[in-house]
């Protein structure tokens, strides 16, 4: 009697699991159907496979629990003697093969479709860095970085006292979104400047690794305007969990307007750049300090902390650091060329002379570092130049 109870518990459990599975998958928390033709294909494929395996599972478990119920000693079952049946074994070899073939066919079709990246109207190069993304519109001369937004970043610190629930789109918002047109075939070219990352927006239906020194391709065609959020999906170090991807799809006209606005801005910035290149304009202390704080918070604080205290032992404090308070040339060198083999990247590749100069000035005069030094873009420029010449490849060999 007691044993029967156990059995009923067992059966009930299986039933509950099945119902819950089906219920929840069907109602919510299932894979998103997404907003591209490809994501819908994937979703359908997922549902077909999920249903198939669920049915297989139910059949197998049903057979087993029937046996458990009927053929138990407590019900007086006597053990039969058979231990082989060629016919049965052939059946249960062939049927699974058939099922697998049926699943493989649509999978193959969808995959072939996805792999063909030709015929794109827009090419965007995406470069992963620890821990932000760089987007370059190859046709448009637009390029910018995209890091986690300030609110999320503040809330996520241990003991921040800010509840994640009070932050909009906690961990899923960035400072600069990737803006793309709808109904356009877009090719995404992925690479990385340091370690492997993976660019993933579930609504687009795929993720692809961003591998240092290699370029991966994928394509998408977004049908509905909207904001689509995702995250870096390959472990890339400490802040892997804080590297969101946000894509804003807008109708083509709106996109053109956005591009015009961006390139307009960029051109003026670029003329400024062009000037700096020939004759970097000196900046005054307040301008350097103000801009420096912005650059520092956006690019340096994730490792060295907002107050420059770092995170020992991996990430040194800049407050009181011998390098930061010491000789300038060394300091510039560390920031422009990085420390190969460590997380300290070569910022000469990511930031321009103005940004770096400002960040250097800021760090030399903040957190109690009172060197009083001003670093001008002109001091930094030559190093960046030589660095660019030297690095044909984007990956540097770590030397130790």
């Amino acid at each position: 009697m007691k044993r029967t109870n156990e059995l009923i518990v067992g059966l009930a459990m299986v039933a509950v699991i099945t119902v819950i599975t089906w219920g929840v998958f069907a109602v919510g928390d299932n894979m998103t159907p997404g907003v591209t033709p490809f994501s819908r294909d994937v979703y359908q494929l997922h549902m077909v496979v999920l249903s198939t395996v669920t049915i297989i599972g139910i059949l197998v478990f049903a057979a087993m629990f029937t046996s458990i119920y009927l053929h138990r000693k407590s019900r007086g079952a006597e053990a039969a003697k058979f231990n082989h049946s060629t016919k049965a074994e052939i059946i249960w070899t062939v049927i699974p093969i058939v099922i697998l073939v049926v699943m493989a066919i649509p999978a193959t079709r969808v995959l072939i479709d996805m792999e063909d990246t030709s015929g794109a109207d827009l090419n965007i190069k995406v470069t992963g860095y620890q821990w932000l993304w760089q987007y370059e519109y190859l046709e448009e001369d637009i390029a910018f970085y995209s890091a986690i937004d300030r609110d999320s970043n503040a809330a996520r610190q241990i003991g921040s006292g800010i509840s994640p629930r009070e932050v909009d789109n906690y961990l899923l918002e960035v400072d600069n979104r990737l803006v793309v047109p709808t109904d356009t075939r877009i090719r995404i070219l992925l690479t990385s400047g340091d370690v492997i990352h993976s660019w993933w927006v579930p609504d687009l239906g795929w993720k692809r690794d961003a591998i240092p020194g290699m370029v991966n391709e994928a394509w998408t065609l977004i049908e509905e305007p909207g904001v689509y959020r995702g995250q870096c999906a390959e472990l890339c170090g400490k802040d892997h969990g804080f590297m969101p991807v946000v894509v804003e799809a807008v109708p083509p006209e709106e996109y053109r307007a956005w591009v015009a606005e961006q390139t307009g801005e960029q051109t003026s910035e670029q003329t400024a750049d062009a000037q700096t290149e020939s004759d970097p304009e000196p900046m005054d202390r307040t301008a350097l300090m103000q801009h420096g704080e912005d650059v520092y918070d956006a690019h340096c604080a994730s490792c060295h902390r907002e107050d420059g205290s770092g995170m020992a032992p991996a990430f040194p404090a800049l407050a009181g650091s011998a390098v930061v308070t010491g000789e300038l040339s060394q300091h510039i060198d560390v920031v422009v060329n990085g420390r190969p083999g460590t997380a300290m990247a070569a910022f000469g590749q990511r930031l321009d002379a103005r940004d770096i100069a400002a960040a250097l000035t800021y760090t030399r005069n903040a957190f109690g570092n009172e060197t009083g030094d001003l670093v001008q873009p002109a001091d930094v420029e030559p190093l960046i130049e030589s660095r660019l010449d030297e690095s044909l490849a984007s990956t540097e060999k770590p030397e130790r």
Binding site: F61, H71, R72, P96, E115, K207, C232, G241, A314
Partner: protein, 535 residues
């Protein structure tokens, strides 16, 4: 297969105390060492999992900082795989294989001692990295470069610890193969061997084939980091993805290393408690061999998102899917063994049944992962985490638990506490599903793995999962207590222990004397555990 009688040098000078364990060459004592070590590591690895689950209890960072979280993820996996599951199976093989085939001991007893005693040192080294200033490795158990090359001073220690584990595994595997091929009692033909022995024979082959490949992969990491080589550096003509190919050439067979012996255990337990011979013995053997063969040609299913050429993706997808066929044969054979048996449901049988159900769930989600376009969405999400914990925890670990309950009376001479065993079973089985089932939803809803914090939409399922995790953890403390209690005493066990049990190990007294089968027994179909009408 004649002269296997044992000769020993010193029957009378058995040392006591620590020396006994340090110097022992006895397969049963070494088996015990392995099993105790494995249990200790299970608790260490489990404690790390508890830290992971505690941090993921709610959104926001509360307990640990992100680096430490990554260290926990990495160490949890390394400790569980190399410290808990693999040594547990080797321990079971040490105890049971010689008894099952009628051998006086393992073929190479001194080397057997060495295989074990390397392990504590390897793990001393691995765990010591937690106390190094730069912390433990934090790049995931897969140690993908270039991230793993950024590791601090612990990096070299981790690599060498892995080398030591590899040496230990290879020697252990060589010993098991030599024992099975060379030490069988007269009449114990290959097709009379118990399935546990068969699965271990094939597992040992896999181990010898792939552990050296892992050693090669991590050696390349070491030289890339310290000696200027460019294996995984594109600027020098290498490729970071090449590491993944080499690693997974090891890694995929490795997961079968952790499941084939479990299949063997389940194939012993189900016939015993069904009081009926195993259905389709020969096809079980062939299915095991096919799985092992296929395991060498599916590795890149872990790398579908790295941008492989189309043809390669298709090949690896098809090859992976085919594994469902031999695995299905196993599942169906177990169900057919139960069919029209005369079943009772002691704790080992309960765990075996739960294994069949829950492993199948894990296997079916594995088939979903094999579908490349769908894997573009599943990859590196909690869906994968759910998949592999179903096959590893409710697969490998449940089988180990089943084996422990099944053979404890043979090892200790005492029956374990059946009532506590049942409580342990139900508590574990319910909580483990609360722990891992919701992770399927998390993955599908878009939660990446290896993150210490998540956006609020994932809060509810993580909460449930963590609660399940703590409950499952506490249940394992109960298991530890049950084992201790059984070792210390209890109802005396008979030689056969279970009335449906067949096979040589049940012909020796319980507890099994230190030396069994000094004179080899004669084996025929009536003693042999399994029989197929074809054989």
């Amino acid at each position: 297969m004649t002269d296997t009688t044992a000769h020993t040098d010193d029957h009378h000078s058995q040392p006591k105390g620590l020396a006994r364990w340090l110097f022992t060459t006895n397969h049963k004592e070494i088996g015990t060492l392995y099993l105790v070590f494995s249990l200790a590591m299970f608790i260490v690895g489990g404690a790390m999992a508890m830290i992971i689950r505690a941090e993921l209890f709610q959104p926001g960072l509360q307990l640990v900082n992100p680096e430490f979280f990554n260290q926990m993820t990495t160490m949890h996996a390394l400790v569980m795989i190399f410290g808990a599951v693999m040594p547990a199976f080797v321990g079971l093989a040490n105890w049971m294989v010689p008894m099952m085939i009628g051998a006086p001991d393992m073929a190479l007893p001194r080397m057997n001692n060495w295989s074990f005693w390397i392990l504590p040192f390897a793990f001393l080294m691995l765990l010591s990295t937690l106390f190094m200033p730069t912390g433990a490795p934090a790049s995931g158990w897969t140690l993908y470069p270039p991230l793993s090359l950024q590791g601090g001073n612990s990096f070299a220690f981790v690599i060498f610890a892995i080398h030591l584990m590899g040496i230990s595994s290879i020697m252990g595997a060589i010993n098991i193969i030599a024992t099975i091929l060379n030490m069988r009692a007269p009449g114990m033909t290959l097709l009379r061997m118990p399935l546990f022995v068969w699965t271990w024979l094939i597992t040992a082959f896999l181990l010898i084939a792939v552990m050296p490949v892992l050693a090669g992969a991590v050696t390349m990491l070491l030289t890339d980091r310290f000696f200027d080589t460019s294996f995984f550096n594109a600027a020098g003509g290498g490729d970071p993805v090449m590491y993944q190919h080499i690693f997974w050439f090891f890694g995929h067979p490795e997961v079968y290393i952790m499941i084939l012996p479990a299949f063997g255990i389940i194939s012993e337990i189900i016939p015993t408690f069904s009081r009926k011979r195993l259905f389709g013995y020969t096809s079980m053997v062939y299915a095991t061999a096919s799985i092992a063969f296929l395991s060498f040609i599916v590795w890149a299913h872990h790398m579908f998102t790295t941008g492989m050429p189309l043809g390669a993706s298709l090949f690896f997808m098809y090859a992976t899917m085919i594994i469902a066929v031999p695995t299905g044969i196993k599942i169906f054979n177990w169900v057919s063994t139960m069919w029209r048996g005369s079943m009772t449901f002691e704790t080992p049988m309960l765990f075996a049944i739960a294994f069949v159900v829950l492993f199948t769930i894990g296997g079916l989600s594995g088939i979903m992962l094999a579908i490349v376009p769908a894997d573009f969405q599943y990859h590196d999400t909690y869906f994968v985490v759910a998949h592999f914990h179903y096959v590893l925890v409710t697969g490998a670990v449940f089988a180990i638990m089943a084996a422990a309950y099944y053979w404890l009376p043979k090892w200790t001479g005492n029956m374990y506490d059946e009532r506590l065993g049942k409580i342990h079973f139900w508590w574990s089985t319910i909580s483990v599903n609360v722990l891992f089932f919701p992770q399927h939803y998390l993955g599908l809803a878009g939660m990446p793995r290896r993150i210490p914090d998540y956006s609020v939409q994932f809060a509810e399922f993580n909460l449930i999962s963590s609660i399940g995790g703590f409950a499952f953890g506490i249940a394992q403390l109960l298991f530890v207590w049950i084992v201790i209690k059984c070792v210390r005493g209890g109802e005396k066990a008979t030689a056969q222990v279970w009335d449906g049990a067949r096979g040589l190990e049940w012909t020796v007294p319980s507890p099994a004397p230190l030396h069994t089968f000094d004179t080899p027994p004669q084996v025929d179909d009536s003693v042999s555990a399994h029989k197929d009408q074809l054989a």
